[in-house]
Amino acid sequence: MFVVIVGAGRVGASLARSMLAEGHEVSCLDEDPESHARLEIGLDRSWEDMGGRFTVGTALEIEALTAAGVERADVFVASTNGDNTNIIIAQLAKRRFDVPTVITRVLDPYRAQWYADQGMHTICPTRVAIDMLETEVRAAASRTRGSAGRSGGVDHEDADL
């Protein structure tokens, strides 16, 4: 499978390394040449020696996307640090380049939800964090249930935690 990842930040670079290690063909596009170093974290050989590809360019430039190989991508991942950039380039990948699977990282839950409702495959890390926090807080609440919380007489040792 050929995976094109736009935005080789912490998320994009980790995903790129994992996919390459699993035997997929991986090409990364990032506007910052320094991002290349992030791809090689923990590797004993260079990214290219491992078979990876890296292109420096702006995500919105058709030439850069083409150089990264978008035209024959099986999967396109938009993981730059800009929600709007990700949402726009995901639509380019889908509508202009006809990539079969397009996955978009959107940090803002509201925007992620609306675009998901329109058929976009969005991943919202903020939503995941909110859900996890809610679960933890609810779990804590159920542990204190029956004692009606701190004011209701939880002992001080517990309340300070």
């Binding site: 058709i62 800009g82 726009i88 380019l92």
Partner: protein, 228 residues
Amino acid sequence: MAEKIYIIIVGAGKVGWNLARELLEKGNEVTLIENDRERYLTVEQELEHNIQYGDASELWVLERAGISRAGMVIAVTGDDEDNMLICQVAKEKYRVERIIARVNNPRNREHFDLLGIRPSVSATDLILRLIEHEVPEYGLVHLLDLPEQHLEIIELLLPADSRAAGQRVSDLQMPDGSLLISVLRDNTGFVPDADTVLKPGDEILAVLDPRVEEDLTAYFGPDRTASE
């Protein structure tokens, strides 16, 4: 603008600020949205309650500004992705009737078109258009573009070696879907008749389907069979 509508402008740079001022002076209700705190405070001294602070690509910021009753949204930030996204949600989520987007990098214009964001305005393109008009060697000037209606009006300078120079209008074989509407000669415009003979240096105005533009310019242009 006879009809007064509620207009939301995103981006309080020079373009947005001046637009807001002009539209307010014409009696419209306007809200400007700016996400840079310092810029917001500067503009707020003049526009007061007509500017709000926030990132308009966060939907609640648009909602707080009352987007559901807006008749027009104008996105003129310095960031093309933001302008595209804001106009897309304005049009498709909030069903705003009219949108206008600013294109910062003219190479991004095709993306605006792909996402159905029209009209979009690029200062670079406008200046290029003016250069074409001021420097007639460029040959072709677009006077009016109505891409949705498949219609445009162009101005074209007949070069000395134009195949059409010296021909009577009735003998012209212009491509189907194009029509000669007037001729500018010695700073005077006139509507040609069948007996008018075209001369090198004439500027002709034609109405046409944009799809035959290339054929038309090739027909009136110099004999360039060797070049390109």
